[in-house]
Symmetry: D2
Subunit: 143 residues, 4 copies
């Protein structure tokens, strides 16, 4: 583990479900991306960095595993945590939990690993992750 585990609350809407009556499995990847985005924003990499930078982060590979299905109207929490940090990429572990109203236990529904490459916005070639970002991601575990 390199970074801290960041939690982002979510609600399941009808748009997220499929005819099986549960969350369409593809949509957990959207939930995970929301958590990644909010995690980076919490470190100061929000709107400004998206539009002003010459860097861009792109998903280069992912894997996910489905344990239990979420249902309409469930309260979820999606997580993001950096578990590997390369020169031009990072790997995040991501989980989706159901919040249970009756007790405080979170129930694990889905987990994934997403490899994100740092590339030049114009050439789409690998580019070093900026020092400040490496520091921000790393330091969060030392607090």
């Amino acid at each position: 583990m390199i970074g801290t585990e960041f939690f982002w609350p979510l609600r399941v809407y009808i748009e997220d479900t499929d005819a099986g009556g549960i969350v369409y499995y593809v949509n957990y990847l959207k939930f995970m991306e929301r958590a990644r985005t909010e995690y980076l924003r919490s470190l100061g990499y929000g709107k400004q960095s998206i539009f002003n930078s010459e860097l861009m982060f792109v998903v280069s590979s992912l894997e996910s595993e489905y344990i239990k299905p979420a249902q309409l109207d469930d309260e979820l929490a999606a997580t993001a945590q950096v578990i590997k940090l390369g020169k031009a990429y990072m790997v995040m572990e991501q989980k989706v939990y159901r919040e249970n109203e009756t007790d405080d236990e979170r129930e694990l529904l889905c987990r994934g690993e997403v490899k994100i490459a740092c590339v030049d916005r114009n050439t789409i070639r690998p580019k070093r992750i900026p020092e400040a970002m490496v520091a921000a991601v790393t330091v969060s575990t030392n607090n």
Copy 2:
């Protein structure tokens, strides 16, 4: 106007955008539905009523008008407000605004009207909206 105007905050993620660099126009309808859902939950029609009731609400028609586009990472507010109430249907006016960080003015991006029919879950035939729900929707304007 029959009910009060309910506001629901939203953030634009990459999943919401299209190759034009803006929010895909179809997705504003999802934002509006999230606001409707949260509005009904705020009146006590959340999880329980979804799963325990013999009623179901279905969209029977809608219209929307696009004024300005939202962009990646924008903070939005979607609204829901009952403007017409029939025996077995209601019409909601819905707006999507952009929150501006520099001032307190909301900027109108999109508006819509959505007609929602109350139907029997099994027969899918029109059914009277329960008295308690009519009261909840109506009273909210009198406070």
Copy 3:
């Protein structure tokens, strides 16, 4: 009516459905857009015109009406037909039918009207629809 009615075949996949066991109502608008896109391609306005032109077509308003729901695995046909042609906009009527295997009757599930504005790609200001396109759209009814 100005143009001919163009038909585009579709299949309902799990991605198109929701927890109600039917096609999520928002997704009919995607089906309609596929039909519009293929209609314009059939007139010669495909890939080249999308990327080489200074024009862009954007949806400025729409309305839709839901008659019967489509289900998983249904074969559908979405239509596109120009019913009004302004200097810088056109209105298309669009329908979604279910193809029935047992007979040749199409069953109307959903209809809509979509107003599309022709704008300058850079300024996003209204711009005249090119003569050639007006001719292509109009002539199709005279054959």
Copy 4:
């Protein structure tokens, strides 16, 4: 390899893209599922088997790797091929190619592996894949 490689043609529409101007990486998983669905239909496991059976197939895990991005209006081909067959699951390898108009070469954009579990529709417990289906999937390689 156990089964043959099945190809399914696709077109990229605006609904599939994101603000990066390319296909949103999550949507390749939808393309792969369309190919799986059509592959199974080609073996006789279409509408009837979906609605009449006590079995259900659910995705239990997946991985995907992104090589090159697809763009608006690209013609693609998604593939499905059974590469492993267990008692109650199968693994499909899936690829998404771009068809190039100028030559006959397909360009690999994305590949994935999807593990699909066969479960009882009511209990959601693992259930043996029917003999007939095993035969249909296997025989396709011996032709």
